[in-house]
């Protein structure tokens, strides 16, 4: 394995370029599905690309009173964390790198953009940003703990915290989904909370606080934030497919890639459907659900996987 192969893996496939294109296409599919379910037409396939290019070309204004250096660093930092996490998540069975215990590192890296949003909101002079930032942090505690429990439960069950191993032990039909359905549901809800989607779109509730933490962002920095969210969605779905839905399995020769893509798309469809079916919750309602329902369920699931 030469340096060229490594570079190709990092930047082309399954690295940055592939992920960005796939994430934008996924965000189009998401928007299109939501639109069709809402009896609308929806955007053409190139809309997310056009949005990104347009934003990248736009004037970038930072309001007076905000911290310019940190404000510029946060979106880059969040994007970098998401991309770094993606290196250890097998896509179509291929990960750029893998080491024992990488699941914990990936979950940590994926949680950092939420903290980035909190800081971004807090740095803004706008009151909507401050409220949005506060809500991001409150939401962070409500979803992150159940999400961790849901993601670790398969690791406890299969006695490994390495994503690669967790994926292969499920082959061919021993999916963690069948053994830990509650853990899967909790992880999916946690992911929705992480992505700030309906019904947990509390930090960026448009009718309440505008764009929340991102209210004062524009141009390139906003484009990077939006790209981060699109990438987080795809990377999160990949992680769920790898850990709960058996990754490539069951796949006969040549069928691995379409099977993996299909699983990811089905999970995306679930996210879109949830987006259509619910109203936004209040932050206190989310905290109640997170701590009174999801955390005890996650604990029960963890204990179950320890005893089994």
């Amino acid at each position: 394995m030469g340096i060229l192969t490594a570079l190709f893996q990092l930047f082309m496939f399954p690295g940055v370029l592939f992920l960005v294109v796939a994430a934008l296409l996924a965000s189009w599919l998401d928007r299109k599905m939501v639109a069709l379910w809402q009896a609308r037409v929806g955007p053409p396939w190139y809309q997310p690309f056009a949005d990104l290019i347009k934003l990248l070309a736009k004037e970038d204004v930072m309001p007076a009173g905000g911290s310019t250096a940190l404000g510029a660093a946060l979106p880059i930092f969040s994007l970098a964390c998401t991309l770094a996490a993606s290196l250890y998540i097998p896509v179509f069975g291929q990960a750029v790198g893998s080491f024992p215990g990488d699941l914990v590192v990936v979950l940590f890296l994926l949680s950092l953009p939420s903290l980035g949003q909190f800081l971004a909101g807090w740095l803004n002079p706008s009151v909507y940003g401050v409220i949005g930032g506060n809500r991001s942090l409150l939401q962070y505690f409500a979803y992150e703990v159940p999400l961790l429990m849901g993601m670790i439960a398969p690791g406890v069950l299969s006695k490994s915290l390495t994503i690669d191993i967790l994926t292969t032990v499920q082959h061919p039909w021993r999916w963690h989904l069948f053994m830990l359905p509650v853990g899967f549901a909790i992880s999916l809800l946690g992911l929705i909370g992480k992505l700030k989607r309906v019904p947990f779109d509390i930090p960026n509730a448009k009718s309440e606080i505008g764009a929340g933490p991102l209210t004062d962002y524009s141009g390139r920095k906003l484009a990077l934030w939006q790209l981060t969210v699109a990438l987080q969605t795809l990377v999160g779905l990949h992680l769920l497919v790898d850990i709960y839905l058996g990754g490539l399995s069951p796949a006969r020769a040549g069928w691995g890639v379409p099977v993996f893509a299909l699983k990811t798309l089905m999970l995306l469809a679930v996210l879109s459907l949830v987006q259509v079916l619910f109203a936004r919750l209040r932050i206190d309602q989310l905290s109640t659900i997170g701590w009174r329902l999801l955390v005890p369920l996650g604990l029960a699931q963890l204990l179950f996987s320890i005893w089994i």
Binding site: W37, Q38, A39, R40, V127, Y128, V130, I131, V198, P199, D201, I202, A205, K206, S207, E208, I209, G210, V276, L277, F278, A279, R280, L281, R282, I283, D284, Q285
Partner: protein, 360 residues
């Protein structure tokens, strides 16, 4: 704890029309609210003194983009009383049909705005999609989707042919099939109820004290409906019941509006079938005898009052409009303190404000 000042408006994603709330919050709870209105004041009452009565019908149509027909109906009724003119039964029925159609589309519009304010975009899309049917019917009957110009002093400008009545009946039958979905949703959906029940409660005492009218008053248990208490036009010939709820929260208001939509639809279809023969309007003189009059009708948002004073010339000496939104605005200033910041949107959207009406 430190107070945070949260501005809602004059421009804000929640508001469809400009108005400005300045809220002070401690943590997530609002502790005080102040209101500023007048951003869309166009001086319509003053303008009306420089136009003759026939022109004023078109002027008052432009007070509001949602309840435009209610405004012209009320103004025409006031002037007709001054003139001592009885409008033909057919004209009164056409007015009633347009009024009830307007009530349905206004209530659906409100539902969409409320749903969007609590992040339920699907309901917003569905409500506004089905509202299009009603707007299409209104366009077919009058030629206008928003400003219908369906009224003239002395009756209705438009007439409904048998062919039109048939088309409209079909469209309304189609619309009737859409309502059960909203009924199911408003009464059963848990995420909708979680965001609206127990929120923005107006007590019956508050309704009386602040003079709140319309669906908001009825949701608090007041039997206040001008169609029954001060019957006008063709309403006396139909059976109506006052739809009330008792809780007075945003959810009860949605229940009242839902039932009113069903009632209005039934009333519309009944009136379409019972359309009396005869001309839709009668000619009236240009000059109006001196005197003053108060006309009241039930607009979609509640009791609408027009006071018209005539000095015997071709133009009115004074017209004063009292819209149902004004007391609701005053009530909001009292309702908002104590509410969580996340619920502000639902409380404001749930009040069914029409700023263009209130500012004029």
């Amino acid at each position: 704890m430190r107070k945070t000042t949260i501005p809602i408006g004059p421009q804000h994603p929640l508001l469809k029309e400009p108005l400005s709330f300045t809220l002070e919050a401690v943590g997530e709870t609002i502790v005080s609210a102040s209101l500023r209105i007048g951003y869309v004041h166009r001086g319509i009452e003053r303008l009306s003194q420089e136009r003759n009565y026939a022109q004023n019908v078109h002027l008052f149509e432009r007070v509001c983009g949602i309840c435009s027909h209610a405004h012209t109906t009320c103004f025409c009724q006031a002037v007709e009383t001054l003139l001592g003119v009885e409008i033909p039964a057919r004209g009164a029925h056409i007015r009633l049909i347009m009024c009830e159609l307007e009530r349905i589309h206004s209530h659906l519009l409100w539902l969409g705005v409320l749903a969007e304010s609590i992040g339920f975009t699907t309901v917003f899309m569905y409500a506004w999609r089905d509202r299009e049917i009603i707007l299409d019917v209104m366009e077919a009957l009058s030629g206008g989707r928003v400003s219908h110009a369906a009224n003239v002093i002395g009756g209705a400008r438009v007439d409904i042919s048998a062919e039109q009545a048939h088309d409209v009946e079909q469209k309304l039958a189609d619309f009737a099939t859409r309502l059960p979905m909203f009924e199911e949703l408003l009464t059963r959906d848990r995420s909708f109820r979680a965001r609206t029940q127990g929120l923005g409660v107006m007590t019956e005492a508050m309704v009386h004290e602040m003079g709140i009218v319309g669906p908001a008053a009825r949701a608090s248990g007041c039997t206040l409906d001008m169609r029954l208490q001060a019957p006008y036009g063709a309403y006396p010939s139909y059976d109506l019941t006052v739809i009330t709820e008792s809780a007075g929260d945003v959810w009860s208001r949605s229940q009242v509006r839902l039932l009113e939509m069903q009632q209005s639809l039934a009333l519309c279809r009944q009136a379409m079938r019972n359309l009396p023969e005869g001309p839709p309007s009668v000619r009236v003189p240009r000059r109006v005898p001196a005197g003053e009059v108060v006309a009241r009708i039930e607009a979609p948002r509640g009791e609408l009052v027009y006071y018209v004073q005539s000095d015997g010339s071709e133009t009115p000496a004074r017209v004063k409009v009292r819209t149902p939104t004004l007391p609701t605005l005053m009530a909001l200033v009292q309702l908002l303190p104590g509410v969580e910041t996340a619920d502000v949107a639902a409380v404001i959207a749930g009040a069914d404000l029409c700023i263009a009406c209130a500012d004029r």
